[in-house]
Symmetry: C2
Subunit: 411 residues, 2 copies
C-alpha cells in the first residue's frame, strides 16, 4: 500500500461533470490499495472572476484581503470534490490550508511555506478518508489566510507529499506531460518519459508553464518524484525526478522559447564601479524584473550595457533610465521590442563541451543572427529577432535530435 | 463615541455598486465618531448557486462539507467590502468566523453559538480599523467551519454586538422595518417604530421573515437593541427592544399569516396514555415539524386529535399515520390542505382579557369559520379556510386599529 498525492488543476475540476471524473480517478487509486491525498485548484475561471471583482472595487486592494478573497475558490472546489467522492461510496474530508496545516510567511499573495503540520491529514487517512486539500493557500502566524502565488497548488501538493513522505506526487493537468519543445511550434516535439529537477527548473522558468517553479524546487529538496500527466487520459506522463533516476540522459532535453522580453542597450557609460548597481537598483525599485544582462569590455573607459525586461515594462524601463541619466551619463539608449529568447536545456551539457557551438552553428546556417547570449551550467539562451522564433526552435530540435526515440544519446 | 454593529444582507451586497454603497454608509458611520463592526451575508444568489452545485454533485452530501462550501460566500463578500472601504480611504480588515472567534457546537448547517472570543476584533478596532465580519459562519471544537442556518448572519451580528457590548445592532435589509402586517395584503399596514423582543419572536416564527428568530432570542438575552432598517434609504426603521423601552404599548402590535400549513385530524382514537406520544414521535422521526396540536375531550373513551404540518409534508404525514395505525387503531383520518393560519400578536394581551374574543367576533362578522384555535401569552392564532386569508388579515388590522398613528392605545 502506498501513499499517493494527486493534484488537479482548475481545468480538471472546471465543471460538475469534470469534478465527478476526478472523483472516479481518485476512488480508483484508493481501491487499488493506496491512501490518497488530493490537492485541488479553484474551478477554472473562478480565480479570475474573483480578481476581476476585486479590481473593479479597488484596483489598489491590499494583499491580505486579496488572499482572503481568492482562497475561497479552492474552498469551494475541495468541498465539492469531497462530496463527489462520497457519492461514489468512499469516505472523504476536505481540509483548508489552515487545517492541514500549511504554515507560511506573511508575504501575502506570494507566501512561502515555512512548515507543514499534517497531523490532521494523517488522522483522517487512518480513519479511512480520502483527504481533499484546498490548494494554493496557507495560513500565517496571525491566523490569516495566505496564498502561494499563481500555480501555487502545485507547490501545495509537493509540500504535502514531502511532509507526509508520499511515494509519488501526481500532477494532473490539461497537457499529458513535458515535451521536448512546444508541439504547436514543432510537430516533431516528443513527450519525455523522465526529466531531471534541474532541467525542469530551467524549462519552467523559460516559459514551459506546466509546473510552478517553486514546486519543483520543493520536490528537488525533498526528493519527491513528480508525475506530470493528463486528467483526461490514462496514459503515463512525464516523471520529474533526480538526475540519476532519469532513464534518458540527453545532452539536450528540451528547447524553450519566450517572446515576452524586450532588449535595452545603454551605450557609452563610464566603466567604473557602482554604475551597474545604480541602474539596476533604479529599475528594481520600479518592480521591473530584469532577465539577461550583458556587459562588454570597455573601450576608452566607456562601455555598453545590454539587458532584457518584459515587453510590458519596456516603456517604463526606458523612462526610468531617462530619470537617472544625470547620474550615469550615458551617450545613448537604444531598445528593441522585436526579440525572442530561444534556449536549449540539458543535464548532459555539463560533460559535453561543444553544445553551445553546435547551437550557434545551427542558427548561423539559417542566417539567424544572435543578438545576446547567456549560459548556465545546463542551459544556453540566445536572443534573436522575434520573427525567427519558430524556425529557430525547429532547427534546434532537429540539431539535437530530440524527435527520435532513444536517439538523443548520440553525439 | 459609540460602538455600532451593522449587518447587511445579501441583496445589500449583491453587486459591486451595492458593495460600494454599503462601504459609503459604513465609512459615514465611522466618520460620525463611531467604531464600526460590519457583518455581511453572501452576495445575493451566491449561497443558492453553491447549494445547487452541491445538490447536483451529491444530493446526500454531508453537512460538514456543506458548511465548508457555503461559508465561502461570506468570505468573498467580506473581503470585497473591506476592499471597498479602503478605496474610500478608511482602514478595514475582514475576519472569518474562526478569526473572530465565533465558537459553535458541532451541529453542522444549523450550529449554535457557544462562545464569542472577540479579542482580535477589539484589537483591530483599536488599531483604527472598520472590522468586516463574515456572517453566517463559526468554528467548532475540531477547527471545522460551521454555519448558523439560513439567515444566520443576523445572529452573527447580534452575537458579536453582545460579546463586544455594542450600543446598537443595525440590521440593514431590503425592507425598511417591521410592519403591522404584510403591506402587500393590507394597504393600511404601518411601519412600527418599536416592537418588543417577545412580539418579534412571535411575528418571526409566524412568517414575518425579516430577522432570524435566533438573533432575536440572542438580542433579548443580552439586551441588545436591534434596529431593522433599509440599506437603500436613510429613514429610520423599527427598533426591536425590551418591552419597557417600547414607546407604543399596543394591545396588538401586528397581524401575521401563513399559508404553508395543512391540517390532519385523526378521529376516534382510544383516549389512553401514550397514544399522542406514539403518533407524534413517529411523525417527528420522519423529520416533519408539527405546529398546532389540538385534542378535544373524549366521548365513549375515544377522542379526535387535530394538528397542522407543512403543506409539503402533508402526504408524507398521512402515510406515516397509515403505517402506525395498527398500533393506534384510529377510526378515520381526514385532512385539509386548503387552510391558512392568521395570528394576532401583542404584549398588551397579557393584561387585556377580551382580545381573543374580539378576534373571533371580527372573523365571525365576515362569516369566516374558525377551524382551530391556539393561544399563547402574547398571541392568538386561528386556522381558517385559505381563501379568506387576506380578508381576515385586513379585518383584524382594522379591528385592532393598527393603521392609525398612536391610535392603538385605545381599547
Amino acid at each position: 500500500m502506498g501513499l499517493v498525492v494527486q493534484k488537479y488543476g482548475g481545468t480538471s475540476v472546471g465543471s460538475v461533470e469534470r469534478i465527478r471524473n476526478v472523483a472516479r480517478r481518485v476512488v480508483k487509486t484508493m481501491r487499488e490499495g493506496n491512501q490518497v491525498i488530493v490537492v485541488v485548484s479553484a474551478m477554472a475561471g473562478e480565480t479570475d472572476r474573483l480578481i476581476n471583482l476585486a479590481n473593479e472595487i479597488n484596483p489598489e486592494h491590499n494583499r491580505r484581503e486579496h488572499d482572503m478573497l481568492v482562497s475561497s475558490g479552492e474552498q469551494v472546489s475541495s468541498s465539492l470534490l469531497a462530496m463527489a467522492i462520497e457519492a461514489l461510496g468512499a469516505k472523504a474530508i476536505s481540509l483548508l490550508g489552515s487545517q492541514v496545516t500549511i504554515r507560511t510567511d506573511c508575504d501575502h499573495s506570494r507566501a512561502r511555506i515555512t512548515e507543514i503540520g499534517g497531523h490532521r491529514v494523517k488522522q483522517a487517512l487512518n480513519d479511512g478518508n480520502i483527504v481533499v486539500v484546498a490548494g494554493f493557500q496557507g495560513v500565517n502566524e496571525n491566523g490569516d489566510i495566505t496564498t502561494l502565488g499563481r500555480g501555487g497548488s502545485d507547490t501545495s501538493a509537493v509540500a504535502v507529499a514531502a511532509a507526509l513522505n508520499a511515494d509519488v506526487c501526481e500532477i494532473y493537468t490539461d497537457v499529458d506531460g513535458i515535451y521536448t519543445t512546444d508541439p504547436n511550434v514543432c510537430d516533431q516535439a516528443r513527450k519525455l518519459t523522465h526529466i531531471s529537477y534541474e532541467e525542469m527548473l530551467e524549462l519552467a522558468s523559460l516559459g514551459a508553464k506546466v509546473l510552478q517553479i517553486r514546486s519543483v524546487e520543493f520536490a528537488k529538496k525533498y526528493g519527491i518524484p513528480i508525475h506530470v500527466r493528463s486528467s483526461f487520459s490514462d496514459s503515463p506522463g512525464t516523471v520529474v525526478c533526480k538526475e540519476e533516476e532519469c532513464m534518458e540522459k540527453a545532452i539536450v532535453s528540451g528547447i524553450a522559447y519566450s517572446k515576452n522580453d524586450s532588449k535595452i542597450t545603454i551605450c557609452g557609460i563610464p566603466d567604473r564601479p557602482g554604475i551597474a548597481a545604480s541602474i539596476f537598483s533604479a529599475i528594481a525599485d520600479k518592480g521591473i524584473v530584469v532577465d539577461m544582462i550583458i556587459q562588454n569590455i570597455s573601450a576608452d573607459g566607456l562601455t555598453d550595457l545590454t539587458f532584457t525586461v518584459p515587453k510590458l515594462d519596456y516603456g517604463h524601463a526606458l523612462e526610468t533610465i531617462d530619470e537617472i541619466n544625470d547620474r550615469i551619463g550615458a551617450c545613448e539608449v537604444v531598445g528593441d521590442r522585436n526579440i525572442a529568447k530561444v534556449s536549449i536545456v540539458g543535464i548532459g551539457m555539463r560533460t559535453h563541451a561543444n553544445v553551445a557551438s553546435r547551437m550557434f552553428a545551427a542558427l548561423a546556417r539559417e542566417n539567424i543572427n544572435i543578438k545576446m547570449i547567456s549560459t548556465s551550467e545546463i542551459k544556453v539562451s540566445c536572443v534573436i529577432e522575434e520573427k525567427y522564433t519558430e524556425l529557430a526552435v525547429r532547427i534546434l530540435h532537429q540539431e539535437f535530435e530530440l524527435a527520435g526515440e532513444d536517439t538523443n544519446e548520440d553525439d
